[in-house]
Symmetry: C2
Subunit: 504 residues, 2 copies
Amino acid sequence: MSTLTAPLESIVAAASAAAPAFAATTAQSRAQALVAVANALEGEKPRLVEIAMRETGLTEARLTGEVTRTAVQLRLMADAIVDGGYLDARIDQADADFVLGARPDIRRSLTPLGPVINFSASNFPFAFSVMGGDSAAILAAGCPLIVKAHSGHPELSDATAEVATRALAGAGMPAGIFHLIHGRDAGIAVLQDARVKAGSFTGSIRVGRLLADIAASRPAPIPFFGELGSVNPVFITADAIAERAGEIAAGYLTSVTGSAGQLCTKPGFVFAPEGSTLPAAIKSVAGHPGEHRLLDPRIATGFATRRDEVLGSPGVTPIVEGGVRFDEQGHGWATPTVVAVSLENFRAGHDALVEESFGPLSIIVETPEGTDLASLMPEFYEGNLTGTLHLSAQEATGTTANAAELQSLVTAMSHQVGRVLFNGWPTGVAVTPAQQHGGPWPATTNDSSTSVGTAAITRFLRPVAFQNAPQAFLPDALRDDNPLGVPQEIAAAGLSQEWGARWE
Amino acid sequence: MSTLTAPLESIVAAASAAAPAFAATTAQSRAQALVAVANALEGEKPRLVEIAMRETGLTEARLTGEVTRTAVQLRLMADAIVDGGYLDARIDQADADFVLGARPDIRRSLTPLGPVINFSASNFPFAFSVMGGDSAAILAAGCPLIVKAHSGHPELSDATAEVATRALAGAGMPAGIFHLIHGRDAGIAVLQDARVKAGSFTGSIRVGRLLADIAASRPAPIPFFGELGSVNPVFITADAIAERAGEIAAGYLTSVTGSAGQLCTKPGFVFAPEGSTLPAAIKSVAGHPGEHRLLDPRIATGFATRRDEVLGSPGVTPIVEGGVRFDEQGHGWATPTVVAVSLENFRAGHDALVEESFGPLSIIVETPEGTDLASLMPEFYEGNLTGTLHLSAQEATGTTANAAELQSLVTAMSHQVGRVLFNGWPTGVAVTPAQQHGGPWPATTNDSSTSVGTAAITRFLRPVAFQNAPQAFLPDALRDDNPLGVPQEIAAAGLSQEWGARWE
């Protein structure tokens, strides 16, 4: 039945065998295990960061901060599950007078899907890799986890896995709940295995689509949560530029150049009024930025090609010229490139220009007075992770003459993105409960979910209802005596006669 | 760009154009519209039921009850949205001392996906058809609705659509939010259109898979919620039979024969101890049941073939013989068939026997003493909508010698079904908040959702977050003054230092 190699077969078999025991663990014990992993990663920070610097070219400051972020993600997920609210426990009391005839006692809560494969990202070797956000959500949900390591940081992946394995075992978790595998073929074979019940991924549109199609075309299809590509349009009003051009320019450059622009939320396009002082402000704050190594030679070559393509598109003018230099190992070292183009030339060169540039490059589109900004969203973009609006203090009150126009733009963005920002920059995604990191295709494969924030856990759960179950056979979260003290949403008997009555 | 015929193009364009206005309606106004549709359907009940009887062969009693159920579903959805809890509004307060550095104000709630196509079912001409459960959920969510009529009841579909259109307009809903189309090609063309954002379906595995594959392979894939096939295994203990064989036999026959067994939750298989009195009890309560017309000639032919196949499988013994008679119009008239087979012969004939029989046929599998019932679930079944256990009053206390064995069976069922029942029958799905009507493939295409119960609405929503948004540009549900009074889950500043601290 299985087409797996022997080592993969034993991994999938172990994950599958561990699923019932892991599903039966208490949220509290899983929370303790997640915190143990967080502590263990922080305890090994210097060693792990050293490997990561060598493998990814990211800076020590960035990577040190990323380990902390990863630990915080694990702790947030731990805290998110312990009160049991994530189980969405609902109890409908039996009701002899139910409007459609006597209704049984029905109780429903969420249960783990089973083994999940998570494909790591290249650009967050900690926070979206072996023990990153998706992994934390999968383990928090109670699903055995198989991580497919990213080929860009194999040694770090092994080292992280070793730390995590030890911490999970030390916290008393069942054996077999966590495995690391290497190689694309191995990842695909596991994704195709009937015992694997979901997949998650962070990476390119091309690979994400390939994997999503595999998940959807299995004999038994499974959900696949991919975070793919995004160009994150930003709109800046004339008044905002008049108010604080220098501040905006500085924030913009920081957001474009941080981590060499290799972030899924990098602002790829900025719409600003034609003839504004923004380009000059950017030029004046740019100075002489240092080089930053790109993640790997393949990404560097791709970025250099893409940059040439953008610079060669008709009407594109450099504001900050930047460049890419290749060293003897084939690594590319980039300095930031910012260009400007008129709306007319952006329209003409749309297909060449609108694609994501994965690296430190951003495009300013200069819009003539009277441009209907809201209509630019559906004209130029599919789904995106973010959309941003910079407005002046006066405009923020919603009382200026252009308030309706700005509201239309906000609404248009909310139809095509997962997060709408005001007076900020989309990089630096806050790890907080209400965060939404997702968006319509191709930003993600599934825009009803998020890969950051506590709602990320729900991706790996499914509901099961129990009808007229004796107390002895109910999950703890659904029992009358509620031994875990989880929030239970109770629909009392006798209410159905009133349904809709308020709205006659 | 579009490959739609002119009439379909105008329908999809109208639905797409109506989406922003419909998304902007208040939950209260949509609730009023849903109740108006419910009232209008009940007001036209005699006329609609007359058409339905002619087109489907279902009985007046069943169809009259189904109109009531449909109205109740609409009223339940109305009540489910008005308090705004379905929006899952979350507010993370800005936090200068956030553990990863100052965090912005982030607010998140759910927003409608946009136009949705719903493919109607054959077997519930009201409750899963034009204004059935999926349609109610789609409209409740604020998504424009395009219904593809089932070919089995085209006249009823038109009549229902006319009643609904009038009621929606009368309730002041925007034009263009509801359309009815006919024909499979039309349905597929609409499902493929980029402006359509999700699909729902109730029907066979074959057609559901076809449509799910189309939804997944679009240039921009969309979620597709299909409720497909299920055989709903039932397990009955020796003690339960000893306690109440007659009652169980009567309930079983009612569940198998109601609506001529053309229900997705019909109990297709019953596992009972070898040599029990259950077959005799069934025989004695069966009597001479009347004929019931099957929905359409195609379903009747399919059922007759399937019945012959089951009866011809080695070791299959009739308990209640039943049959199918065809009239001059090609309609099939069925009486119930119940057969028994040993576990050994069920194993031998598994591939032929285990498939769903859509009609009044059910198979009793007689299990030798000592059979590990829990292991039969993964051995014989993929996903199912339901799994049922009948046990004695003493066994229900969880204190009998076989309690651990019964718990294993319950756990095994919960891994493969969406609803686990005790001492009841899976037909007659209660329309209540905690209901779960869904299950692992092939019961549904997406087992993290339900098509009955208030959680059904969430299928047609996606989250959007707002970061540092001025109050004037926030959706009402996320504003500080909370003008709609919706539940807001607030993460206060200053808590992040504590994350995980409890679990050190």
